[in-house]
């Protein structure tokens, strides 16, 4: 491989890494903004999970309901995948999904460089099965 070609590849790889770092930074900032918006009282409720059933969906504000219903349909998804369905910007969906995480309705898991959001039905199911086995 020629030197200019190698340099070109190396620059592309550095730029890709910078882009991914910026994406992650952007997500963290969105979460911080949401935390500030919610105020200190929400932080104490952060770890309290709630149930994303249809009645909860009905009680959500319109913008969050659209995101939550889309996530329910996809089961688990990245902000990109939700944005593709809702036809809204990725950054907007990322903000809404993180808000749903803060409210305790949605779980977030980082796999590699991607953040996945999901409604934690499996965990509930495992807990129910354990309780059933115990009884």
């Amino acid at each position: 491989m020629t030197l200019p070609r190698r340099l070109e590849q190396s620059s592309a790889s550095i730029l890709q890494k910078i882009k991914e770092s910026l994406d992650r930074l952007n997500e963290k900032m969105e979460v911080m903004i949401e935390i500030q918006k919610q105020g200190h009282s929400t932080q104490s409720q952060e770890s309290v999970p709630d149930v994303l059933d249809v009645m909860t969906l009905l009680s959500l504000p319109d913008h969050l309901r659209k995101t939550a219903v889309t996530l329910c349909k996809l089961d688990q998804a990245t902000a990109d995948e939700v944005a593709e369905q809702t036809k809204r910007a990725r950054a907007v969906e990322s903000g809404y999904l993180n808000q749903l995480v803060l409210m305790g309705y949605v779980k977030k898991e980082r796999r590699g460089r991607k953040a996945y959001f999901f409604v934690d039905r499996e965990k509930e199911e495992k807990e129910a099965n354990k309780a059933w086995e115990k009884s």
Binding site: V51, M55, E124
Partner: protein, 258 residues
């Protein structure tokens, strides 16, 4: 990709089950693959029409996570339709099962929603069916809202009774609009005299569309001969030339345009 259609109403007795069965049979007789599911767990009805007394698995079991959806389905293609495929899933009509379904908590309802949403993959993608029809329970309760959220299209059936009209209007404003669902209105058991006059028919249609703010799919007259059969006849298979089935033909076409 096929379609999931939920048939719902504000009040009971509007004719949802009759419409669901005949629409399913009509699609099957057109050569389509259809699955009809009884999601009215408070008042199961399909088992009476299809004369099913026992089942290894009911739809209740699928929602409880006990079995796959396939295990709950029975094939009536050979006996109840002339062409196509007609699969039916039944709700358990036993009193204990009904009581159990009414006592479910929110976490169970959340999981039930997940299972209904996954029918799109299991029935439409994997089994390659063309239509799944949900016969739902009336009003605003978990099972019916879960069904509406999981469907691609919702058909709201209303009678001409003022309490039905007002309740349906409220339900559309407070439920359907919030979920941005493709929805159509079917007025059922309309006085035949009104529908016979073109002017009266047009006036009524205009009035209904204004008050519901929904596309009016069809106004179906009250057919005494249908009432006389007591729900034992599937007209789409046994009497396809009946005016009721001609009306349903238009409903099937209109659904595609929603």
């Amino acid at each position: 990709m096929g379609k999931i259609i939920a048939i719902h109403s504000y009040k009971g007795g509007t004719g949802k089950t009759l419409l669901a069965i005949n629409l399913a049979a009509l699609y099957a007789n057109q050569g389509k693959g259809v699955c009809l599911l009884d999601l009215d767990f408070r008042a199961p009805s399909l088992q009476a029409v299809f004369k099913v007394h026992n089942a290894e698995y009911w739809l209740n079991d699928y929602l409880n996570g006990v079995c796959e959806i396939k295990r709950t389905l029975r094939d009536f293609s050979q006996t109840h339709v002339k062409r196509g495929k007609l699969l039916v899933g039944f709700a358990n009509p036993g009193t204990e099962a009904i009581r159990e379904m009414t006592a479910k908590d929110r976490k169970w309802e959340m999981k039930a929603l997940g299972r209904l949403l996954s029918l799109k993959t299991s029935l439409l993608n994997d089994m390659q069916l063309d239509y799944v029809i949900f016969d739902t329970s009336p009003g605003l309760q978990y099972s019916s809202i879960n069904a509406i959220v999981s469907a691609d299209v919702a058909l709201v059936v209303s009678g001409m009774d003022i309490s039905d009209i007002k309740g349906t209007q409220r339900m559309i404003d407070e439920l359907y609009d919030l979920f941005e669902k493709k929805t159509g209105l079917i007025m059922n058991k309309v006085f035949a005299e009104i529908l016979q006059s073109k002017t009266h028919r047009a006036d009524l249609a205009k009035q209904l569309m204004n008050s519901y703010n929904l596309p009016l799919i069809e106004m179906i007259p009250c057919f005494c001969d249908i009432l006389k059969t007591g729900g034992t006849t599937i007209f789409a298979s046994e009497n396809p030339e009946h005016p009721f089935i001609k009306t349903l033909d238009r409903v099937a076409t209109q659904i595609e345009s929603l």
